[in-house]
């Protein structure tokens, strides 16, 4: 404690309050600040500003390009959809056409078949009628003979014409 005042007197005390160094500090500070200011305002800041502006520009450009590409993609999709719809419609018409053709063929074939069937049916009927007529003739002949025989057996003399007329009348009745 005793030595304290001497020390304080000989020592610099608080270096921050040593006024003899203020001039020096302020001088060098001024130089440093001016140097920094010129470095910044002449070189660094304009350069960074340019770089940032350029980046902003290229980002904007890229965004615009991306927007364009997106529009193109949308267009392409629309075209694709349209082509798809067209193809579908075409396929539909082709199907309808084919169906109509097939139907026409079918109708023709049906008509032909029908005609054939009716022709055959007519032929069959004719044959049946013939057969029936033949049968009728045979029956008539048998009946005439039988009737002549019966009449002869009864002692009469059968007139052929009368017998025929009588048989015909019976056959009709």
């Amino acid at each position: 404690m005793a030595t304290a005042p001497q020390e304080a007197a000989s020592g610099p005390g608080l270096p921050q309050l040593d006024f003899t160094t203020f001039g020096n500090q302020i001088f060098w500070l001024a130089i440093a600040l001016v140097a920094t200011y010129f470095i910044l305002s002449r070189i660094a800041l304009p350069r960074i500003a340019a770089v940032l502006a350029e980046r902003q520009g290229s980002i904007t450009n890229d965004l615009a390009a991306a927007e364009d590409l997106k529009a193109k993609a949308v267009e392409a999709e629309a075209a694709y959809n349209k082509a798809l719809a067209d193809a579908r419609a075409e396929a539909q018409t082709i199907i309808a056409q084919a169906k109509a053709e097939i139907k026409a063929d079918l109708d023709k074939a049906m008509a032909k078949a029908d005609a054939e069937i009716s022709a055959r049916a007519a032929e069959g009927e004719k044959k049946i009628a013939e057969i029936r007529a033949n049968a009728m003739e045979s029956v008539k002949a048998v009946a005439k003979d039988t009737a002549a025989e019966i009449v002869a057996a009864m002692g009469g003399k059968a007139d052929g014409r009368t017998v025929t007329a009588a048989v015909n009348a019976r056959m009709k009745g």
Binding site: M1, T3, A4, E7, A8, G11, P12, L14, P15, Q16, L17, D18, T20, T21, F22, G23, N24, Q25, I26, F27, W28, L29, A30, I31, A32, L33, A35, T36, Y37, I39, L40, S41, I43, A44, L45, R47, I48, A49, A50, V51, L52, E54, R55, S58
Partner: protein, 260 residues
């Protein structure tokens, strides 16, 4: 502290927490004149070189996709520009290079001062007072040039009741003139305090050499404390640069738009 240093010479511990702030000539041992090359010169030159390295060499590629150094420079640019624009307004952008200069100078001086054995230029009131007076003079001159006598409206709080206004005006005037004082002492005080505390703990660290018993406890503790305070000081170095800059912007806003 002087007596403690005296007493410590016998005990072994040496406390010189303020010696780190001494301005010394770089060459020789003479007196410090205005133009003497001192450690102030050296560390300020280093600060300017660091700023040059980051903002000029770092951006020399002018790359659209930035390198790491360039993106740090761009980050600082964007940060300060946005601060000026947000706080001081669009017309404050004229002062952007000036504010950027202050910010980068203080930031780099603070951070470089944290290097071991370094000299912290911003811990000196002479330096911070010049910085603060520059801001104060800029704000005052700009205020009067832009607004004329209307700048005095800053002190006349028209939203307050009439009887209170003279008292408020007095308070506003006083606070206006205290601004450069608090502005400079805040920065210097923060820097000085942190560095002095680190030095005090550093003085405790060699305790283990003197007395092994106490040293086993004290030395690790003080080393831990130095590390912790150092981390805090890194934070403070950045925050004080930020605070100095943002207060400059706030004062500039007063000069550009005195009617709140």
């Amino acid at each position: 502290m002087a007596t403690e240093a005296q007493g410590a010479a016998e005990g072994g511990l040496v406390f010189h927490p303020m010696d780190q702030f001494m301005v010394k000539p770089l060459f020789g041992d003479g007196a410090v004149g205005i133009f003497t090359l001192t450690n102030v010169t050296f560390w300020m030159a280093l600060t300017v070189l660091a700023i040059f390295g980051l903002l000029v060499l770092g951006t020399s590629g002018r790359a659209t996709i930035p390198t790491r150094t360039q993106s740090i420079a761009e980050l600082a640019y964007d940060f300060i520009r946005k601060m000026v624009e947000d706080v001081a307004g669009k017309d404050g952008l004229v002062f952007f290079p000036y504010i950027m200069t202050l910010f980068l100078f203080i930031l780099f001086a603070n951070i470089l001062g944290l290097l071991p054995m370094a000299f912290t230029t911003t811990s000196h009131i002479a330096v911070t007072a010049v910085l603060a007076m520059l801001v104060f003079l800029t704000v005052t001159i700009v205020g009067f040039v832009k607004n004329g006598a209307g700048f005095l409206g800053l002190f006349w709080v028209s939203s307050a009741p009439l009887p209170l206004r003279p008292i408020l005006a007095l308070i506003e005037v006083i606070s206006y003139f205290v601004r450069p004082v608090s502005h400079s002492i805040r920065l210097a005080g923060n820097m000085m305090a942190g560095h002095a505390v680190i030095k005090v703990f550093a003085a405790f660290a060699p305790m283990i050499v003197i007395s092994t018993g106490i040293g086993l406890v004290v030395t690790p503790l003080s080393i831990l404390a130095i590390s912790t305070i150092y981390a805090l000081e890194v934070l403070v170095a950045c925050i004080q640069a930020y605070v100095f800059t943002i207060l400059t912007c706030v004062y500039l806003k007063d000069a550009l738009h005195p009617h709140h």
